[in-house]
Structures are given as structure tokens and as C-alpha cells.
């Protein structure tokens, strides 16, 4: 069991998402950085889709009631277990009574805005529609369908590697799977159904100009500011199914990227869709930061997904070899 010591309505229980429920109007939810969640689980020998705590406001503190293996991945500031500082993307073993503190990122040193606290066996909340993710709009899933509060207690599942010393980490994927263009972070985008409804100048500006993530950005969607995107003729569409990654352009010409808590339908014209393999990069991009869109083909999107799978497979293999060597499972 762990007890939440911080008042932190924006920390939620998330897994890889509630997939397969869009047809009932239920959004996918899940970790904004699924790569960090999955890598944290691999460090612990958990199932890749085990639930963890997504933290986006720091500092964030928990106390362990009993000895528990844990991993902290993703963004955020310095992490301390008691007096010991953990390197980023690291796993450790907490003793009963120990306090884990995810600190405030130092200005200018942020390597991501969301941290994942994974526990051996995964955070044990009841699955709803095959997922433990918090569905904030519907107020179900996760811990009582809401963000975590001070005093909440969460149980972990059964131990992945078992009780043994754990103290190692991995190189973050921002370094091993970089994606940049002209000195700015970038995400790859497939042109969407209404791409041709935008003027050639707007299409060109969409790829060429940097975009800023405005403060009106959260788990539901990111509102961007940049060049105004003009449609040849504004089209009102019937509401239709949309997924995380879809980039809509409402009348003002400033795009919105749908994120994990997006509603499953919308009617604005879509200029593009951020590929699945790059959504984690946006999930970690802080408010106020700038990035670029890179045009991608279907084949490039699939190749990027394969590259991500290969990275995760190599992490799983290396962690397996290392834990075997130290008398793991």
C-alpha cells in the first residue's frame, strides 16, 4: 500500500488506455506518455500495461506502508527516496515507512512534464471496461474515477520480480529515439481528410512554422498558437469519430491536438493526425514550449511504431539479463 501525501488533483491512475470502447462513446484515456509507463513496468518485471500513477504537478510525495519495488520514469524533477537521490528513469526498493518525493523540475532543465510512478505488480484498482485508466469525463476507472488526493491509499498488485534489491535504470527514449527539426522537438503527422480544404499557404505554414503549446492545454487536448490556418471555404462537418492525435482546426485557425482524454467525436475540420509512435513526445512537451510538425507517410508511421517496439523489446531483454544476473525471478 502507498499513501498519497500531496494534495494533487491532477495526478491520476493510468495504464495504456481503455482501447476498444470508442464505439460506445468512451474515450481511451491512459498515460500521456505510454512509452514511459511501459518502460517503468518493464524495469519492475510487470505486465507492460500495468497501471501506474501519472504525476503532472510537483512536488508529489507518497509513503510506502510496506516494502515495495518501484520505478519512476518520464519527466519531472529530482526524485528522492528518503535521503537518497534517484537518477532519472530508475527503479528502486522502498522500505516500509519510506517517503518518495518527486521534486519540482529546475527551470530550463525539464526533460518532460509528466512523471510515472510504477509499482511492482501495478496499481491495483478495479478494471472498468478492460482498463484501470481514470476516465475523468465519465468519472469512472482509476481510483474512484477521479484525481488522487492527500490521504488516498493505493494497493499494488503481486510483485513482479519479487523482493530483492533493485537499483538501476535505463537511458531515456528522448535520447535514444530523438525527433527534431531545425533545433526544435518535432512530431510526425499524417495529413488528414480535410487537409486539402486549407489554402496552400496555410498547408506550407503548418509544416514550416513552429507551434507553441498554450496554457489552454491539458489531458483533453493541446491548443496551439502559431500562424493562422485558413480554409479555402470553412466547412461544417457532422460530428464524426476522432482519436487522440487528431489535429482539428476550428474557425479561429489555431489548431487543437486531441490528447488522451479527448472526447470520441468532433466536427471541426482535421488537417492532420499525430502518429501514434510520437504522441508520447507531445505528452511530455511542457506548456509554453515550441515544436514542429513533420509530414509523414503511412509507411513512415508504421516504421516509427516498429522502432518504438524494438526499443521496448531491447529494454525488456537487457533488464531480463541484468535481473537474471542478480538473482531475479
Amino acid at each position: 500500500m502507498i499513501e498519497i501525501l500531496s494534495e494533487s488533483a491532477l495526478a491520476t491512475v493510468q495504464d495504456l488506455g481503455r482501447l476498444g470502447a470508442l464505439s460506445w462513446g468512451v474515450g481511451v484515456s491512459g498515460a500521456m506518455d505510454p512509452l514511459a509507463l511501459e518502460a517503468g513496468n518493464l524495469l519492475l518485471g510487470n505486465a507492460p500495461d500495468a497501471a501506474a500513477i501519472e504525476v503532472q504537478i510537483f512536488p508529489f510525495q507518497v509513503r510506502f506502508d510496506a516494502a515495495c519495488a518501484f520505478a519512476v520514469t518520464g519527466g519531472g524533477g529530482p526524485v528522492r527516496l528518503g535521503e537518497r537521490e534517484l537518477p532519472p528513469w530508475w527503479c528502486g526498493m522502498a522500505a516500509a515507512g519510506e517517503v518518495l518525493r518527486l521534486g519540482v523540475p529546475k527551470r530550463g532543465t525539464t526533460h518532460g512534464s509528466r512523471a510515472y510512478l510504477c509499482l511492482a505488480g501495478g496499481v491495483d484498482v478495479p478494471p472498468v471496461l478492460n482498463s484501470r485508466s481514470t476516465q475523468l469525463r465519465g468519472a469512472f476507472g482509476g481510483h474512484e474515477g477521479r484525481g488522487l488526493r492527500r490521504g488516498d491509499r493505493l494497493a499494488a498488485g503481486t510483485l513482479g520480480w519479487g523482493a530483492r534489491p533493485l537499483w538501476f535504470g535505463i537511458v531515456p527514449p528522448s535520447l535514444t529515439l530523438p525527433c527534431e527539426r531545425d533545433g526544435l522537438p518535432a512530431v510526425r503527422v499524417l495529413p488528414a481528410a480535410e487537409y486539402d480544404s486549407f489554402t496552400p499557404a496555410s498547408q506550407q505554414a503548418f509544416w514550416a512554422e513552429p507551434w507553441t503549446i498554450t496554457p489552454q492545454s491539458d489531458r483533453y487536448g493541446y491548443r496551439l498558437s502559431g500562424p493562422v490556418l485558413e480554409a479555402i471555404a470553412f466547412r461544417e462537418l457532422r460530428s464524426h469519430g476522432i482519436v487522440p492525435g487528431v489535429i482539428q482546426v476550428p474557425r479561429g485557425g489555431q489548431p487543437i491536438v486531441q490528447m488522451r482524454d479527448a472526447q470520441p467525436s468532433g466536427g471541426y475540420p482535421k488537417i492532420g493526425t499525430v502518429i501514434d509512435a510520437d504522441l508520447w513526445r507531445l505528452g511530455q512537451a511542457p506548456i509554453g514550449s515550441r515544436f514542429r510538425f513533420i509530414e509523414a507517410s503511412w509507411d513512415e508511421a508504421l516504421a516509427a511504431a516498429d522502432e518504438t517496439r524494438r526499443w521496448l523489446a531491447s529494454i525488456e531483454r537487457l533488464v531480463g539479463l541484468h535481473t537474471l544476473g542478480t538473482g531475479g525471478r
Binding site: E83, R84, E85, P87, P88, W89, W90, H111, W167, F168, G169, I170, V171, P172, S174, L175, T176, W311, S314, I315, L318, V319, H322
Partner: protein
């Protein structure tokens, strides 16, 4: 000094190609040598214990890997000469593929020197960092 089980160990050794076996315990050191005349056993008193308060403590590589004096996301080295460090504190990292293993302080101390440059491939047992032990 008689040691129980020498005959059994000698018999096991005779069945192998191993020519020399040395076992050290708290009370004695046993050396078995296998030659043409069979297995010969010799016992010695144990080696003297190490000095109680060594002036220097070596932190060695626990694995083959690439030595990193700082985390790949950070600009500042983990161990800076003159700094006091706690037992277990991470003083450097060994990179093996994308895995990062800690180079941890075996005891509390003061960093005297980081002996290996950032980004060097090191072998098992390579001395990486030197500490002067200090009481916690």
C-alpha cells in the same frame, strides 16, 4: 590443522582437469594441488585481516560497460572531488546498451578522484573512483 571433508574434495578434484584449488575460510586457507602423484593438500593460517581504517577506498566497476561520470540527461558530474558522499550514493553510471547500472559508494566518504574519463569503456573490476572513508 585438520579440516573436515578434505578427502571428499580431493576425490572430486581428482575427477577433473583442475590442477589447483584454493579455499579460504575464516580460520584457514586450504590449497589442493593435483599433479602426477595425485592430490596434495596444504593448509595455511588465514591471511591477516585488512587494516581497520584504510586511508583510501577504491570504487570498482561491477560490470563491463561504458563509464559515465554523469547521467545522460544532466550536465553536472555525480562525483566531484572534495565532495562528501553517503554510503550507497550513485557516483557514476555504467552503460550497457540502454541499461544504466549504478557505480555506488561502498561507504560514506570524501571523493578523492574520478580516475576514468566520461565515456570510457571499462572492464570488470576497473578502479573508477577513489574515496577517503569518513564516519557517516
Amino acid at each position: 590443522m585438520p579440516i573436515a571433508g578434505i578427502d571428499q574434495i580431493s576425490a572430486w578434484l581428482a575427477a577433473t582437469d583442475i590442477t589447483e584449488l584454493e579455499l579460504t575460510g575464516p580460520d584457514a586457507c586450504l590449497r589442493l594441488t593435483q599433479g602426477q602423484g595425485g592430490v596434495v593438500a596444504a593448509t595455511q593460517p588465514p591471511a591477516p585481516p585488512p587494516p581497520a581504517a584504510p586511508e583510501m577506498m577504491a570504487v570498482v566497476a561491477s560490470n563491463v560497460g561504458l563509464f559515465l561520470d554523469r547521467h545522460p540527461l544532466h550536465d553536472v558530474p555525480l562525483a566531484i572531488p572534495g565532495a562528501r558522499v553517503a554510503a550507497g550514493q550513485v557516483l557514476g553510471l555504467l552503460r550497457i546498451g540502454d541499461l544504466l547500472l549504478p557505480v555506488a559508494a561502498p561507504a560514506a566518504g570524501e571523493v578523492l578522484a574520478v580516475l576514468v574519463p566520461h565515456g570510457t569503456v571499462v572492464g570488470f573490476g576497473t578502479e573508477l573512483i577513489r574515496l577517503r572513508p569518513l564516519p557517516e
